[in-house]
Symmetry: C2
Subunit: 585 residues, 2 copies
């Protein structure tokens, strides 16, 4: 493992070989290397020279990059064509890169240099001896650097420095001790696929300009529908920019299915529509209702049991109540894996109610959908096959890089009817290929980022069984955590029983609070514990875990595990760290 | 320039050195290379061995990768730890990569291998001797490969092959002769920045997990507002997933500004709202109106002049008409750079009308916004400073990799009021830093991809003057094209006069049609010319340009130039190619 701050491609530093005292060795190599074609010679020389002079440990200020390129040739030609010279980025600008004439060599060297910075970050991300976060307050970061945009260009040396600086202050979301969000981890195949996606730099709207990606979207969505349990994987779907938009799509399509005239006439032409979702559901349902002109007052929050699951009898009661008022229930959004508790609504009971009252059943499985990949855990989503639509974010539990969210729809063609506008400049009807692959008109977006390739490539690399192993491991880790703390002194569980997802919700009660009565003062003091511990975690940079209040529960920790890099030891570490940082409170 | 199909990092192929006949040379190198730390030894060995055996030219079928790794060690250990062995990807799986124990070496080798594939693609993208597209019909691609997802994992050799196959059929959107969309080109700094973004793998909702990116969004949006001309760059904004969503945001915020109760009460609580935009405007305005419950019937399309510019007197007439009916005009969306003609609506006249009738003025400058970077061309957007909101997509004219679209809003705080839902699990009010940097609640999305970094880094690398040079060059090329064809035999312009943007719209009239009267039969035959030429272009793979009908104009070519790689010779080539492929029609 490379030590933090050292040149990653450095040599001779650990075993004494490579002779950093004797640049002549490097020079000899370099001469041979120049015989290689395709830029590799340049790259080798940069490696050999550049890092022979190791950069100093960067101590909190601007990372030292300039010093690592001291042995530059001094010709000042752009691009430097000296036969054995290394690349000196301080003399190069973006205009020297491709498509510039003679831009190939500097381009390859520059991109390789960036890649080295990225590889160094990747390795550090998994290194428990590095910090999860090098925290600075906003005003500190704003004052420490000049981030402003100017008229004049900067040279590539400065651009490389910006890359290093940006990563220096980045949160290592792939770190085994980063538990802060539902999306954690850094999958190497997914990362490679995302790099490829950036390089292909295209748009999902037509087969014409994204043939392979369009086909992969077709194949992948079909597979996801098969796993949901729709016969033959039939139906429709789209990769959308996140679960909130996927949920909004569901609401939009459900409304259109019941009242297609809403597309032309707007909400004025339809009765008052009511959507139902649990009080623990994701806030995006309300956001969507506000945007779609339905209004947040028309989203009825159904009561949950103590584990955070929607209570079906309350759902039925509220549906009847709405109907009595003359309103039209049009959507029930059940949650499979709530954000805070990780609860799974009883989908079979919800499906029965939706069938009885002819209401569109949506399942927000943004967080819980991954469990469908596990033979051991998929029973928690029993009934999902009866849904009309499902949100499923592979960027959460399945560890696909951000963003990758799918909205799956049971009825084929509905998305197209709902959203199409027949733009003749994109969806020409006299093209020479099968137009059913021009899927862009079913989207709300016009241009659409390619989000499918990273999921598809990871799926090929892991197989369904690989995702299953990943999911099972994360759930086992959550159970391990639960078993440690459920009877441990100083911990109180927010709800009883084994976690159904990887969410483990608990209070840490510092010694000074353990002796207090369970009154207002204790609650008030307890509510301040998690924020202080979290702030200390960030300042120390050792780990990160989220906290929040919910309903009448004061601030508690919500531990989630979606990163396959985490181990039992990391869970132990988290507990020790909470106690270390919180015992004096 | 590496020849297509050869190993990019190959050596000895062009100048006879490197001795591919004598693997002993490579082996000697490799032994030395193994002294390097950090995985570079491995990489060097892979380079030296792997490509000594050059892969055969891949002739339309599965790219030959497996053959390039013949000299593998045969130990079959995972990962192979033989001191001098190269990496044999056929023995490695995703589970051997980080975070696997001992995963560092194979990870670095694998990612470097992917990078080599990407670099090869980058170089080919700019090489005029390679095809823009290797076209296959959907059923051909589906039959030629097995794209299906299976239970079992594939090895990394296969994964690398998928990367090659995917790129083999990708459209080279950075190719100097790719003119098909408004988004073309492949900027090297932007690409590097997008790779970094993927590697950082985080989410824009809070400062907590994206400190630098949140600050860069703040800095960049402010700079864009300054350029628009709002005093001190004040106001608000967001990077959204594309221009369609940015336009939808504008409509959403305009509605909220006039009727804030719509958020809770929905459209039922407000009078009938009417939006106005030109008949040449982007279809996303109607899509947004359909989604927001306003209805497409409430989007009034204003007449354009023969150049595609909105006619202000018609706008005023339609506003008065709507008011007379008791409807409420709430938004005018003027277009700065229409999709097909590249027309700029008269913003000052539109602003006067919006002011007179107290209507929200939105400017959809998704395509034309880039011209604000040019002192020579920004007058075309005069009046944009009077808008209440502006859509501006740097991923179009400014060449930023997809996606990068900004919605700028003049009034600060409105987006937050309109969209916020106060999710307590994300936007905790007792965090230890300045919460004004937790900007996620103003978005419709919850998780949001980092789209700002590539724009910010390109801006640093090019400076505003670099963007200006890019824009001026593309507009000069469009004028060059216009000057060539305006009087050339066989060409008819769709509208008269110099192009205002890079859009040049024209018919190519094959010799057989030139003798016909201008009657129905000629129009019918002319309408089939562009689709046939386009299909032939794609089959030959030499260039790509879009076509469409518009109003009563039959199919015509719409040439657009946003790629700084294009030259006068590429424009000449396009003309020659249209004539070569179309002269027999």
């Amino acid at each position: 493992m490379a030590s933090p701050g050292s040149g990653f491609w450095s040599f001779g530093s650990e075993d004494g070989s490579g002779d950093p005292e004797n640049p002549g060795t490097a020079r000899a190599w370099c001469q041979v290397a120049q015989k290689f074609t395709g830029g590799i010679g340049n790259k080798l020389c940069a490696l050999l020279y550049g890092d022979a002079e190791k950069p100093a440990e960067s101590g909190g200020s601007q990372p030292q990059r300039a010093t690592s390129r001291k042995a530059a040739c001094a010709c000042n030609q752009k691009p430097c064509s000296c036969p054995k010279a290394e690349v000196n980025y301080a003399f190069l600008h973006a205009t020297d890169l491709l498509p510039a004439c003679d831009g190939e060599r500097p381009t390859l060297a520059f991109l390789q240099e960036v890649m080295d910075i990225l590889l160094q970050y990747v390795v550090k991300s998994f290194d428990r001896s590095t910090k999860v976060i090098d925290f600075h307050y906003p005003n500190e970061l704003l004052q420490e650097y000049n981030w402003e945009l100017a008229d004049q260009p900067q040279n590539l040396e400065e651009i490389l420095m910006h890359c290093q600086t940006t990563l220096k202050y980045a949160i290592k979301t792939g770190h085994p001790r980063y538990f802060n969000q539902l999306s954690t981890g850094l999958d190497m195949v997914g990362l490679a696929a995302d790099w490829l996606t950036s390089t292909a730099n295209t748009n999902m709207f037509t087969y014409e300009i994204a043939p392979v990606f369009v086909l992969l979207e077709y194949v992948t969505l079909k597979k996801m529908r098969e796993i949901i349990g729709w016969p033959g994987g039939s139906g429709d779907g789209i990769f959308s920019p996140g679960g909130a938009i996927s949920n909004m799509y569901a609401m939009l399509i459900a409304r259109f299915k019941m009242f297609p005239e809403v597309k032309e006439k707007g909400m004025a032409a339809v009765p008052r529509l009511i959507a139902f979702t649990s009080e623990h559901s994701h806030f995006s349902l309300k956001k969507g209702a506000a945007a779609l002109g339905i209004g947040t007052d028309s989203v009825i929050l159904i009561k949950c049991d103590e584990r955070g699951k929607m209570i079906p009898s309350d759902l039925e009661r509220r549906i009847l109540e709405a109907k009595q008022k003359g309103f039209v229930p049009f959507l029930v959004s059940a949650t499979a894996g709530t954000t805070v508790y990780g609860a799974f609504d009883p989908l079979l009971a919800v499906a029965d109610i939706c069938k009885k009252y002819k209401i569109w059943m949506h399942v927000d499985a943004a967080w819980g959908g991954g469990l469908l990949m596990s033979r051991k855990h998929k029973w928690k989503l029993s009934g999902v096959e009866r849904a009309n639509s499902v949100t499923w974010n592979p960027h959460k539990m399945m560890g696909v890089p951000l963003q990758c969210s799918a909205l799956l729809v049971r009825e084929e063609g509905l998305m197209q009817s709902c959203n199409q506008m027949h733009a003749s400049y994109l969806f020409q009807q006299d093209k020479h290929y099968d137009l059913s692959y021009d899927t862009g008109d079913k989207a709300l977006q016009c241009g659409r980022h390619v989000d499918v390739f990273k999921l598809w490539l990871m799926w090929r690399a892991k197989g369904t069984t690989g995702f299953e192993a990943h999911i099972d491991k994360c759930l086992e880790l959550a159970e391990y955590l639960y078993n440690i703390i459920k009877n441990r002194e100083g911990y109180e569980m927010v709800f009883d029983g084994k976690p159904q997802h990887t969410n483990v919700c608990f209070w840490y009660v510092p010694p000074s609070l353990r002796v207090l009565d369970n009154d207002e003062e204790r609650l008030s003091r307890l509510s301040k514990v998690a924020p202080v511990i979290k702030a200390r975690m960030m300042e120390h940079g050792t780990t990160m875990v989220s906290y929040q209040p919910l309903g009448d529960k004061v601030n508690f920790f919500r531990m989630v595990i979606s990163n396959p890099a985490a181990t039992h030891q990391d869970i132990d570490f988290l507990i020790e760290e909470i106690e270390r940082l919180g015992q004096d409170l």
